[in-house]
Symmetry: C2
Subunit: 619 residues, 2 copies
C-alpha cells in the first residue's frame, strides 16, 4: 500500500485529554479519532491492527471448537426482563424505546441473547457441550469515559458462552477457554497476569481475570513475590497474622470512659495517655481494637431466621424470573467486626452473607440500631442485628471496643467469653505487606486493567430462562453455563502500553498494521523503481508493506515510521543504490542500530526475520 | 468441518411467518434464528455466507481505492442536529438518551459521522478525492419488519462516502462506485437491474438503485421491452403521447351544468348522455378532462413571490444547520392539473417545486381554496393558489374541467387561451403500456427490492456541516460528496431468492458456506477413512468441506445437503469403495444427474470444477 493511497493523518501535537501512552499514540499515529466522548472511529491504520487482534481471538476460539455466530447488537428488552437483569444492570446499560413502545437494549454483554437462542434449539445431551461466541459491538455507558479506547463507551468484545451437561464438563470448557485466552494474549505480545477474581454482578463462582499492569488500572491486584500467587483484591486472601489466644489471663471486661473519642486513632492516643492504658497487658495499638461497622445489605439470600434482630424480617420471593423466584430479604442491617488495623472488604462480606449489594449504613440507622452516637458501636451486647466477625476478631482475647453508649468503651474484651459473632469468616481487605496464604511470602500490590474474564456462571441464566435438555436417561436437566470475554479494543491499546518508546509505537509482528515500511529518500527515478520492486517482492512473499511515497523530507518520513511503529524500516536512497551491489538500509524499530543489505537480498532477509518473529509469537 | 462439530439446526417445518423463499430456507437450513421481530442471529452456517458477501463488497471497495474505517454504531445526536436530520429522520431512527442526558442515535446511515470525521482532517485539495467506507451494523425501526433478513430492523450495510474537490471528480467516484457495485452483485451470482432513482430524503441529484426483481419488492420499476431503459416509477419518464394542438377551431369556453357529478367517470358518463356532449368535437373520454388536485407542500424552497395566492406567504430561514439556513415556505398549497386518464407522481411534483414533502390537501382546505365542494376544482380562473400543469395539459385545446362551483364544469377549455399554469413540467406517473422516452418501446412494470444505491449528494452535508479545504490557489472550497450503500443481509437473502428449488438453496460458489459436502453412507471403517482423506485433500487445495459425520439415515443427510444448498455433494459408501478402482458418487446441487468418479481423482475433479465456477463468477 502506498502512503498517499491510504489515509494516515499523523499528528505532532498530543490531544489534551490523552494522558496514557496508547491513547496519545493511537491519536498521533492516525489510528483513531474521537467522534464524541467515549466514541471512537478506527481509521485505516488502526483498523488493520484491530482486525488482527480480532482474528487472533477468532482463531483461538475456533481452535477449541467454539462456534462463531452473530446475534443482533440491538436486543429486545424482554430477555433482560426474563433474566432479571433489566433492573439489575442499572444505568450503564443503554436502553431505547421505539415508536411501538418496544424496549430495546444496546447490548453490553450477551448472556441473555445466547441463552435465548440455545433454549429454543437444545433438546438432547448429544448437542452438548455447545460453545458459541461472537466478536461484536458492545456498549456500556461509562459515566467518565477516558483513556481512549481503553475505556470507551462503545467497544468490540469477543464474548463466548458455554452450555454444558454438568459441572465437570463446564470445568473442561472453562479450562480450555483459560488456555485459549493465554494464547490470545501471548500471540498479541502481551504479558498478562491471570488472577482469581470476584465474579461480581455476573453471579456464579469460579472465575479468572486476565490483567495487564497499568498505572491507570481500575483493579487492585494482590501478588506474591515468592510463589506468583495473584488475585484481585476483591477476593484476595492472606495467611493469618494472629494466633488464636485464650482469655484465661484476661482481666474481666470493664467499661471505661472515653470522652470525645470517636476514631481508633483518637482512642489509641487516649488510652496511651490515660490510666486505663496501664491496665492493658500489651502496648496499645490499633491491632488491639475491634472496629465495628454497620452495613445495610440488599436482597440477602442467607437464611436469617435465627439471627439476632431479624426475627421479624420477612423474606420476599424475587420477581418472576429473577434468581428463579428464590426468597430474599429485601433489606437487612449487619454489624461487621474486624481488627482495628484492618479494613473490611465489602465484596467478601457481600459474598459471605449472599447479598446482592452492601453499603455502609446511614448515620441515622447506626444511631437507631446501636443506641449510641456514631463511633461507639461494638459487638458486646449488640442484640439488634447480626454480628459478622472477621477471623482476626475471633482470635482477640484482650481487646478494646465501643460500648454502645456515648463516650464509653469496653476494655479487656475476649472473643468467645464476652461476645461471639453470629457468624465468622474472612472479610478483611488484604494489602501490601500481608503474607501470602499460599506460601507465606510477602504480598505486594499493583494496579491492573482487565483484558479478559472467564467464569463459571453455573445455573444462574439457564435456570431463570428455563433452559433444559434430556440426558441419557431421558430426564430433563438444566445445563450449566460459562461466560468468557475479551475486550478487543482494550487488548489492542494494552499492546501499545507494553510496546512503545518516546518516538512512538513498537508493534509486535502479529498485530502490526504493516510488517515493513519502505522509505525512499526521494520517490523518483531509480529509487522509485527499487522501492516499487522491493514492495512487490515482499508482498509476493505475504509480507504487508507500506511504501512512503510522499513528497516529504526524509526526517518527516522517519518520524512517522517511528510513530506508527512498523517493526521493519527499509531506507532506499541514491547513495546506497549507486554501490556495487546496490544496497539498502534496514532498521528494526525495536533496535537502535541499522545495517546495510544488498537490495536483491533485502526481501528474503526481511521475510525470514518477520516469519521468525511471527512463528515465535504464535508458537 | 465435521457436521457434529458445528451447529446446523435444520428444520423440516416452515415458520408460520416465513412467506418468501429466502426467509423460509435460511430458517430451515439453520442459517438464522429470530431473537425478536426484525432482529436475527446468524448461526455458524449463515455467518459463513454472510462473511463472504461482506468480503466481496470489501474487495471491490478496496479495488477502487476506497479505505475502510470503523466509526461507532452508537453515534452522538449532536451531529444529526447539525445536519438537520435529527428531526428529518423521523421515528425510523432509533434514539437513546443516557443517564447524563446525552442524545444518541443507533446509526441508520452515516453521512454525518463520516463528514464529521473528514471535516477535522481535511485541509488540502491534495487529500482529495477521499473515499471512505465501513461494513457495520445499522438499525432502522421498520414498523412492520418481515421477510426475514430481507427487511429486518438491524442489518449490516457496506456504506461508502466520497469527498471530492469538484463535481467532475464526484462523477468519477460515482461512476467507479457504480462499476464496483455491478461487480459485487455479479460475483454474488445476482441479476440486478440498475435503475435511475428518485433520490428521496437523501437530497442531491444523480442516483442509481440496484434492484432485484421480487414479488414482495417495495419498489415499482418501469422497464422498456425494447431498449432496456429502467427507472424507479418515482422518477420514470415516458415519451409524450400527445401533440401540442392549437385552439383555433375550439369553440369558446362555456359553463355546463353537471348536477351530482363529481368523479371523472361520472363526468364521462354524464357528458356522453347529455346535450353538452354533442358540442364536443371528439368522443368523450377521460383523456379529454383536466383533473385538478390540491396539494399541501411543506418546506418549499422555490421562490413563490410572483405566484398566485402566495403574495402574503412568508419565507422562514431554516433552523441553524438545516439546509445551510436556506429560506423556505413552511406550508404552501398548490393545484396540480393533469390529463384525466393519468395520475400525479408525487415524487416528481415535490422535486419540481422543491418541497420537502407533499400530501393531498384536506377536504376543508380544498373547499376553502377553490370556493367549491370537492370534485369541482379546475385551473380556469383559479387565483388563490399556483397551478402546476403537467406537460399533457399544456397540449389540451378542447377539454372539460371543474368550474370552481358546485355542479358546474367548463367545456371547450384550451390551454394558453383560457388558462395557463403558473409553471408546467412532467409530473405524470408512468405506467405499463406507456412508451419509452428513450426508444418509444412499450414500457412494463416489475416489483423490485433495492440492494444497493449510489448517489451524488452534492453539497448537502458538506455545507450544512461546514467542511472545507484549500484548493490549488489557496482558496477555501466546499467539497462535493457522494454516498453509496449495499445491504449485506438483503444481498445474501436475494442470492437465495434467485438460486433455489423445492428441495432447498442452490449456492453460487462465491457465497456458499462450504463448497463440498461429503456424505458417508455410514461414517465408519473404510468409508470413514476415505471420507476423512478426501476432506483433507480438498481442504489442502483450499476447498471448504462439510463432512456429514452424523449417525443418521442417508435420506436425512441427502435432504439436509439439498436444503443447505452446498454446490457439490460426494457420497461415499462401501459399495463404491469395493469396486476396482474404488469409486465415489459426485452430484452437483444444480443438476439432476450424478456420476461416479474414482476416489483418488475426486479431489482433483472437484477442485477444478469449483475453481472454474469461482473464476467465472469473479471474472
Amino acid at each position: 500500500m502506498n502512503y498517499t493511497s491510504t489515509f494516515i493523518p499523523t499528528l505532532r501535537e498530543v490531544p489534551a485529554d490523552a494522558v496514557i501512552a496508547s491513547h496519545r499514540l493511537m491519536f498521533r499515529a492516525g489510528m483513531i479519532r474521537k467522534l464524541a466522548n467515549g466514541l471512537f472511529a478506527y481509521l485505516p491504520l488502526g483498523l488493520r491492527s484491530f482486525r488482527k487482534v480480532e482474528q487472533i481471538a477468532r482463531e483461538e476460539m475456533d481452535a477449541i471448537g467454539a462456534l462463531e455466530i452473530k446475534p443482533p447488537v440491538v436486543q429486545p428488552g424482554e430477555i433482560w426482563k426474563e433474566s432479571g437483569r433489566w433492573d439489575a444492570m442499572g444505568e450503564a446499560m443503554l436502553r431505547a424505546r421505539n415508536r411501538l413502545e418496544n424496549d430495546f437494549v444496546i447490548t453490553p454483554t450477551a448472556e441473555e441473547a445466547f441463552t435465548a437462542l440455545v433454549r429454543d434449539e437444545l433438546s438432547s445431551y448429544r448437542q452438548l457441550p455447545l460453545v458459541l461466541y461472537q466478536i461484536n459491538t458492545k456498549y456500556r455507558d461509562e459515566i467518565r469515559p477516558r483513556y481512549g479506547v481503553m475505556r470507551g463507551r462503545e467497544f468490540v468484545m469477543k464474548d463466548a458462552y458455554s452450555y454444558n451437561c454438568d459441572e465437570k464438563s463446564l470445568d473442561d470448557s472453562y479450562q480450555a477457554m483459560g488456555r485459549a485466552y493465554r494464547r490470545v494474549f501471548k500471540r498479541c505480545g502481551l504479558t498478562v497476569i491471570p488472577v482469581k477474581a470476584d465474579s461480581g454482578a455476573m453471579g456464579g463462582s469460579g472465575s479468572e481475570e486476565f490483567m495487564v499492569e497499568s498505572e491507570i488500572g481500575d483493579n487492585t491486584l494482590i501478588l506474591c513475590k515468592k510463589c506468583g500467587y495473584a488475585a484481585n483484591v476483591e477476593k484476595a486472601g492472606c495467611s493469618p497474622d494472629y494466633t488464636p489466644g485464650s482469655p484465661e489471663n484476661t482481666p474481666p471486661i470493664e467499661k471505661i470512659e472515653t470522652p470525645n473519642v470517636k476514631t481508633i486513632d483518637e482512642l489509641c492516643a487516649f488510652m496511651k495517655n490515660s490510666n486505663a492504658a496501664s491496665e492493658i497487658n500489651t502496648p496499645v495499638g490499633s491491632k488491639q481494637f475491634i472496629k465495628t461497622l454497620i452495613y445495610r445489605a440488599v436482597n440477602v439470600e442467607m437464611d436469617l431466621s435465627s439471627a439476632p434482630g431479624c426475627k421479624n424480617l420477612e423474606r420476599k420471593k424475587a420477581a418472576e424470573g429473577i434468581k428463579n423466584g428464590i426468597e430474599m430479604y429485601p433489606e437487612v442491617f449487619f454489624a461487621a467486626a474486624i481488627r482495628g488495623d484492618l479494613d473490611v472488604n465489602e465484596a467478601k462480606l457481600a459474598a459471605l452473607i449472599k447479598a446482592a449489594e452492601i453499603n455502609l449504613a446511614e448515620d441515622s440507622d447506626v444511631i437507631r440500631l446501636t443506641g449510641a452516637p456514631v463511633g461507639f458501636a461494638g459487638p458486646v451486647g449488640l442484640s439488634t442485628l447480626p454480628v459478622i466477625a472477621d477471623n482476626t476478631v475471633t482470635a482477640m482475647n484482650d481487646a478494646v471496643t465501643g460500648a454502645l453508649a456515648k463516650d464509653l468503651h469496653y476494655n479487656h474484651v475476649a472473643y468467645g467469653r464476652d461476645f461471639t459473632g453470629w457468624i465468622s469468616g474472612d472479610i478483611r481487605m488484604v494489602k501490601a505487606g500481608d503474607c501470602c496464604s499460599n506460601c507465606g511470602g510477602e504480598l505486594y500490590e499493583k494496579k491492573g486493567n482487565e483484558l479478559g474474564h472467564i467464569f463459571k456462571l453455573g445455573y444462574k441464566y439457564t435456570r431463570s430462562m428455563n433452559v433444559s435438555f434430556l440426558d441419557e436417561n431421558g430426564k430433563s436437566v438444566t445445563p450449566a453455563m460459562g461466560s468468557y470475554g475479551i475486550g478487543i479494543d482494550r487488548t489492542l491499546a494494552s499492546v501499545i502500553e507494553e510496546h512503545y518508546d518516546d518516538a512512538g509505537i513498537i508493534w509486535p509482528a502479529t498485530v502490526t498494521p504493516y510488517h515493513v515500511i519502505i522509505v525512499p529518500i526521494k520517490y523518483d527515478g531509480a529509487v522509485k523503481a527499487a522501492s516499487d520492486r522491493l514492495a512487490a517482492d515482499l508482498e509476493k512473499a505475504g509480507i504487508e508493506v507500506l511504501l512512503d511515497d510522499r513528497n516529504e523530507r526524509p526526517g518527516v518520513k522517519f518520524n512517522d515510521a517511528d510513530l506508527t511503529g512498523i517493526p521493519w524500516r527499509v531506507v532506499i536512497g541514491d547513495k546506497g543504490l549507486s554501490l556495487q551491489p546496490p544496497m539498502v538500509e534496514i532498521k528494526r524499530r525495536s533496535e537502535k542500530e541499522n545495517h546495510m543489505t544488498e537490495l536483491d537480498k533485502a526481501a528474503e532477509e526481511l521475510t525470514l526475520k518477520i516469519q521468525e518473529e511471527l512463528a515465535e509469537l504464535n508458537s
